[in-house]
C-alpha cells in the first residue's frame, strides 16, 4: 500500500510550471489535520527548505516580497481550479486558504487519486497508482471515442490483460493483425524475453462496421505518464513505426497525464513541450471518467478504494 514521504521537501520544478506547485499545496491540504493551508504555511515550507535565501541581506525584503507574491499566485491558480472543477473539486479555496471539504463523496475521489498520481515524489510504493492510472486512461479513451471503437490496454503493468499477452513480439503480431498492418522483420527488433510494451499503454481504433477492410481507419496509440518525464513519453507513435512498418502517418499520438496542465486562465501551460496529438489531463479525465468505472472494476476496484481510504486516513504529523 502507498505511504507518504515527508512533505518538507518542496517541489523543484521550474517556477513557470506553477501547476506542480499548486499540486504540492493541494497535497499539503489533503494531509492537513485541521483547517487547511494558508499562504504563510506554504511560505514557511519554502523558507525552511532554504529556497528563500536572501533573507537578512540588503535584498532580503525584495526576495521575501517576490516569494509572497509567488505563493499568492499559486493560491489564485488554485481558486481558478475551484471554479473550473466545480462540484468535482475536493477542496475549498477561500480567503487565501485551501482546505479539504468536510464531506467527501465518490465524486471527489477520482480527483484525489489523480493528485496522488501527480505526486509520486512524495509517495512510496506507488506502483499500484501507476497501474490504476493506466486503467483510468483506458476508461477515458473508451468514453472519448464512439461506442463502436475498439479500446485495449497494451501496457505491461496490466495485471490481467485480456487481449495482448506474452512477449512483445506476440503482442505486436496480434496488433498488426487487428490493424491489418505489416510487422517488421528487422533483426534484433524483438529480443528474447522482451515482455515490454514497446512504448504503448493503450491502443484504440474506430472500425467501420461490417467492413472486411481493416485498414484506412482512425488509430490511436496512447501512453500514460505519471512521472515528470512525461514529455519523453510522447513519441509513442514514432517508436511503434519500428514494429509496424506501414503504420499510417495519421495515427494519433495520445498522452494521458494525471496533472492539471493548466494555468490560472485554465489554458494549457507547457504548450511548447506538448507534441502529442491529443492530451488527456486531469480536467479532461475527470470530465470523462466516472468514479464507479474504477471502483467497480474487478481487478482495480478494491485497490483503488484502499488507496483512497489510506490517503484520507493519513494526516501529517504537526511535530
Amino acid at each position: 500500500m502507498i505511504e507518504f514521504k515527508s512533505l518538507s521537501k518542496t517541489p523543484d520544478a521550474t517556477l513557470t510550471n506553477s501547476h506542480y506547485y499548486c499540486d504540492y499545496i493541494e497535497l499539503l491540504a489533503l494531509v492537513n489535520i485541521d483547517d487547511g493551508i494558508r499562504i504563510d504555511d506554504v511560505y514557511d515550507r519554502f523558507l525552511e527548505d532554504e529556497r528563500i535565501r536572501g533573507i537578512g541581506s540588503e535584498s532580503g525584503g525584495e526576495e521575501n516580497g517576490i516569494w509572497i507574491s509567488r505563493v499568492q499566485h499559486w493560491f489564485d491558480e488554485l481558486y481558478s481550479r475551484t471554479i473550473h472543477y466545480g462540484e468535482h473539486y475536493p477542496f475549498i479555496s477561500e480567503n487565501n486558504r485551501i482546505r479539504l471539504r468536510e464531506q467527501l463523496d465518490n465524486i471527489h475521489y477520482l480527483y484525489i487519486f489523480l493528485l496522488l498520481c501527480s505526486s509520486l515524489n512524495y509517495i512510496t510504493n506507488y506502483h499500484t497508482l501507476t497501474t490504476i492510472f493506466e486503467k483510468c486512461s483506458y476508461f477515458a479513451m473508451k468514453k472519448y471515442l464512439p461506442d463502436v471503437a475498439e479500446v485495449h490496454q497494451f501496457g505491461v503493468s496490466t495485471e490481467k490483460n485480456e487481449r495482448y499477452k506474452g512477449k512483445l513480439i506476440e503482442k505486436y503480431k496480434l496488433l498488426a493483425q487487428d490493424l491489418k498492418l505489416v510487422l517488421s522483420d528487422k533483426p534484433n527488433l524483438f529480443r528474447d524475453m522482451d515482455n515490454g510494451d514497446g512504448g504503448v499503454d493503450i491502443v484504440a481504433w474506430v472500425p467501420f462496421k461490417d467492413d472486411p477492410n481493416l485498414d484506412k481507419k482512425q488509430i490511436f496509440m496512447g501512453q500514460s505518464a505519471c512521472g515528470k518525464n512525461w514529455n519523453n513519453k510522447q513519441a509513442s507513435v514514432d517508436r511503434i513505426k519500428n514494429y509496424l512498418i506501414d503504420l499510417p502517418s495519421n495515427a494519433q499520438n495520445i498522452l494521458f497525464v494525471p496533472y492539471d496542465f493548466r494555468d490560472s486562465n485554465r489554458c494549457f501551460c507547457q504548450h511548447g513541450e506538448i507534441t502529442a496529438s491529443i492530451i488527456f489531463d486531469r480536467h479532461r479525465i475527470i470530465k470523462l471518467v466516472n468514479y464507479s468505472y474504477i471502483a467497480d472494476d474487478e481487478i482495480m476496484g478494491e485497490q483503488f478504494e484502499k488507496i483512497i481510504h489510506a490517503t484520507l486516513n493519513f494526516k501529517e504529523d504537526i511535530i
Binding site: D35, D41, E58, G61
Partner: protein, 367 residues
C-alpha cells in the same frame, strides 16, 4: 544605546499590540480585544509551530519581548516586538479562545508541558527606541511581514521624517532597515496608491478589501512604465502620486480584482500578465480595445503582438467555431432570420481577407 535589563512580567500584564503592522488597517482602527487579535494572528502568522516550540522548551530568555509601558493602564505593558510569541503563549494557556485550528492546538497541548506564566521582557520607554530594530527584523530579516504590513510600517516611520524630501526619506529608511532605497521608494509609492484605493472604499468592488487586495500587484506595476503612465505616477518625483488619475486607478483595480462569472479577473498580477498589460497600455488601439471592452488581456495583447502565428491562431479559432456550428446545424428546428445575413457577412469577410493576403503576396505593382 542605554543598557537594558531583562525583567520577567506576568502574562496577564502584557498586552498584544493593536498597532502591530500585521493587523489590517480596518482592525487597527477599531478598539480590539485580546481574543480578536489572537484569532487574527492565528490565521495569519504561523502560530502553531511557535506554540510547539514554546510548549516544548519554554520561553527562551534570549528571545525576550520588547515592550513599552501602556499609557492607559498602570503596570501593564504593550508588546511592540514579539506579538507572535505572545499570541502563542496566550494560546498555550487559554486554548479555548481559538476560533480555528482547534485540532492542532489540542495536539500541541497534549504533546507539550511548558505553560509560561511570566515572560522575559525588555522594557523601553517609547516605541521609537524599538522601531529601527523592528524595521530590520521584519523587512529585511528572518521572519518577514507580508508586503502590505511592510509598506504600512515604512509609511509610519516616514511620518517621523516629515520635514525631509521623499528621496531623502527613502534613503534614510533604507539605511535604517538595511535595504535598498529604490525598494523603499517602490513600497511607499505603492502604499500611497493603496491609501487612495482604500479612501475610495475599494471602488465598491465586490469582496475587495484589505485582506483580498494583493498589494504586490501595485508594487510590481510600478516597475512598468506604461502602467505608471496610465495611472499617472511619476516614480522619480518627490511627490510620485500627487497627480494620480483616479479614474484610471479605478480601472486598473477593477482589471486586477473584479471577478467575472467564472471567478476570473481580467488581469492577473503575475509578471506575464503585467508585461502584457504594460504593452497594451503603451499602444493606443490596444489600450482603447481593452479599456472599452470586456475581453481578456490576452485578446488585447494580440493586437500589439500580431505575427503570422497569432494571426493563423485567430483564423483557426474562427474556423473551429464555424465547424461546431456546422455540426449542429441540422439539430436546429427553426433558425433565426438574421443567420443568413451573418453568414453573408462571414462570406464577404473571408473573401476580402483572401484578396488582401493575395495582394500582399504579389511581388510587382500592377498599374
Amino acid at each position: 544605546m542605554t543598557k537594558q535589563n531583562i525583567k520577567f512580567i506576568q502574562l496577564d500584564n502584557i498586552k498584544l499590540d493593536v498597532q502591530n503592522p500585521r493587523l489590517p488597517s480596518s482592525m487597527r482602527k477599531k478598539k480590539l480585544d485580546k481574543i480578536e487579535i489572537v484569532n487574527w494572528m492565528l490565521n495569519d502568522a504561523s502560530i502553531i509551530e511557535l506554540m510547539l516550540a514554546i510548549g516544548e522548551a519554554g520561553f527562551f530568555i534570549g528571545e525576550a519581548l520588547l515592550v513599552v509601558p501602556d499609557d492607559e493602564e498602570k503596570n501593564k505593558y504593550i508588546v511592540v516586538e514579539g506579538n507572535r510569541r505572545l499570541t502563542s503563549t496566550i494560546l498555550l494557556n487559554e486554548p479555548g479562545i481559538a476560533n480555528s485550528q482547534k485540532i492542532k492546538i489540542e495536539k500541541v497541548l497534549k504533546e507539550t508541558n511548558e505553560r509560561p506564566q511570566e515572560l522575559p521582557c525588555i522594557i523601553f520607554k517609547t516605541r521609537d527606541e524599538i522601531n529601527k530594530y523592528l524595521g530590520y527584523r521584519h523587512i529585511t530579516g528572518v521572519k518577514s511581514w507580508g508586503i502590505l504590513p511592510k509598506a504600512r510600517y515604512l509609511n509610519e516611520l516616514a511620518q517621523d521624517l516629515d520635514g525631509e524630501n521623499f528621496t531623502l526619506q527613502c534613503r534614510t529608511l533604507a539605511k535604517s532597515i538595511g535595504s535598498r532605497s529604490d525598494y523603499v521608494r517602490n513600497l511607499l509609492t505603492a502604499y500611497q496608491l493603496y491609501l487612495k484605493i482604500e479612501d475610495q472604499a475599494f471602488f465598491k468592488i465586490p469582496n475587495l478589501d484589505e485582506t483580498s487586495l494583493h498589494f504586490n500587484y501595485f508594487s510590481d506595476s510600478l516597475s512598468r512604465e506604461n502602467i505608471r503612465n496610465y495611472i499617472n505616477v511619476d516614480i522619480k518625483s518627490d511627490t510620485p502620486t500627487a497627480d494620480v488619475n483616479i479614474n484610471n486607478l479605478e480601472s486598473l483595480t477593477r482589471w486586477f480584482f473584479e471577478k467575472n462569472e467564472n471567478g476570473r479577473s481580467r488581469v492577473l498580477g503575475d509578471s506575464t500578465n503585467l508585461g502584457m498589460l504594460d504593452k497594451v497600455l503603451g499602444d493606443k488601439a490596444a489600450k482603447e480595445y481593452f479599456s472599452m471592452g470586456e475581453g481578456t488581456i490576452n485578446d488585447a495583447y494580440h493586437l500589439v503582438s500580431v505575427t503570422a502565428d497569432s494571426f493563423i491562431q485567430e483564423i483557426e479559432v474562427a474556423l473551429s467555431k464555424l465547424k461546431n456550428a456546422n455540426s449542429i446545424i441540422h439539430t436546429v428546428t427553426q433558425h433565426h432570420e438574421s443567420v443568413k445575413t451573418k453568414l453573408k457577412e462571414i462570406f464577404s469577410l473571408a473573401k476580402n481577407m483572401k484578396i488582401i493576403i493575395e495582394s500582399k503576396n504579389e511581388e510587382t505593382w500592377n498599374d
